[in-house]
Symmetry: C2
């Protein structure tokens, strides 16, 4: 039987781009770090960074009181650790991306084995891990957070424990993705049109930061309106956006572009107008995006 | 008959939020500014800022060699100025929002009357006019640009003459809108979901700037890929985005949200995958957004 060795302060499970960044960053700050990966060579590759590779998963989960899992998803994590024993007194921090339900289920499984659980999400690229800008949120055991927040804060300057409810971090991950994925698709679509029309890469790159700033400029007003339900505005209404957008879509269509993202925005505006929300602020699009009755 | 008075250096046609900001900003820098508005009181309201109100449009277009029009749209501008005479030697700068075709037509009409034409677009809010960050682009007569770039630069620190072709500024306005409008709709949708799930406004506002930075971080790689047509990546592929996005959409749907923007992004990814582009970078979405054959 594998002994409960606890030879290290932290063990990282999964040494992909993000896992490797986590292990390296902690080792750099003087923490004693072990790492495990299904393909062992990826763990071994971290030796120069002062990380000890462990080949056996049973040994790995016993190697430290703090286990940080950075696998592809929750299923991959569970398939790796389900058979491992010796969890008593350990804390599992899970940085895989999944759903709120998966976070709930993992929380139940881990606590059933006698360990504490923190469900984390990193809103940054692997190269951002350890930087002052890196945003990481954790949900779950307040006791685990109290004990390990010092270590976890080394992974990013903006590190927060958002709730005791283990679902909340993945909920944040969903809304993060709900903005990022379509916003990026809109950028690809817009740049695709611009390049096709002969706008230079230089002009595109000059305008881009200003466009992105405009979104940032509008955001606080939108979050205020959506969280309070007050969508009245003396600035641009949904009707204003709609009237300005129809000719733009025509230009894109005439040039042979599908403009899927732009069409979807216009469809959302149309739905809002049909509900009589045309004279409200753009934020009111949120109230016509819910198919079930809202309290 | 109205005399060709040229009593001022600049005359601004249209005193809405943007036109008023333009007139005020120029007057503040010591330029002699006149202003006209269909509802005369709006022009008169600028008197305290040192702007001379002119009630008659015929008189207004003759009041200065540089005419800056900031009307709601091209049609409104033309309906106001079509009957005016005495354009010889004047320059019309049009800051209304329209389409490349409208810019082309206005250019033809203005030059037929003996004046020079610059088609402008301001990628900023009215309160940003005159600030170092304000981005304005002008397309059209290089001679007019050479003569008036000094005055026009006072409207924004980032002022560019992008092309002699009068269509180009409105083309930039289209791609600007093609990103901004759906990106903002995605933000509304994402925040609508977050608020509905009980995420606090504070947590939303904390995460937002980081999300927006992530888009900015990804943008240069996307513009490089789209303008060069090289979509290979060692980072996230369309398949990676797709696999991560399907569960997110399910969570949003299960919570009763339409998620129109997110669905559109996923539809775009599906189209790209069907074209065999799943192993390319996200930027390759651009190549499946064009319905006509690409050279």
């Amino acid at each position: 039987m594998t002994r409960n060795v606890r030879t290290h302060a932290v063990v990282v499970l999964g040494c992909g781009l993000m896992g490797a960044a986590v292990a390296r960053t902690l080792a750099r700050t003087g923490t004693s770090v072990a790492a495990w990966n299904r393909t062992h060579s990826k763990a071994v590759a971290l030796a120069d960074d002062g990380v000890t590779a462990i080949a056996d998963i049973h040994e790995a989960v016993r190697a430290a009181p703090l286990i940080i899992a950075v696998t592809a998803d929750y299923e991959a994590l569970w398939s790796n650790i389900a058979g491992a024993t010796g969890w008593q007194g350990a804390t599992l921090v899970n940085l895989a991306t999944g759903t709120p339900d998966e976070a709930d289920r993992m929380h139940a499984r881990i606590t059933a084995m006698g360990a504490r659980y923190l469900d984390g999400m990193a809103a940054c690229y692997p190269e951002g891990i350890g930087s002052p800008e890196a945003f990481l949120s954790y949900a779950g055991s307040p006791e685990a957070w109290a004990e390990y927040s010092g270590v976890l804060r080394r992974l990013g300057g903006q590190t927060h424990h958002v709730a005791a409810d283990p679902r909340v971090s993945m909920l944040m991950s969903v809304w993060y993705s709900a903005f990022y994925v379509p916003a990026l698709a809109a950028y690809v679509e817009a740049v695709g049109f611009a390049a096709d029309q002969g706008i230079s890469r230089e002009d595109i790159d000059t305008l881009t930061p200003l466009l992105i700033d405009l979104v940032g400029h509008a955001a606080p007003e939108i979050s205020a309106a959506v969280t309070t339900g007050e969508h009245a505005t003396d600035q641009a209404t949904i009707d204003t956006f709609y009237d300005g957008s129809v000719p733009v879509l025509n230009v894109m269509h005439d040039a042979g572009h599908h403009a899927r993202m732009y069409s979807a925005a216009l469809a959302s505006m149309s739905a809002a107008r049909e509900l009589g929300l045309g004279d409200q602020g753009y934020s009111a699009l949120a109230t016509c995006g819910i198919s079930r009755p809202v309290d």
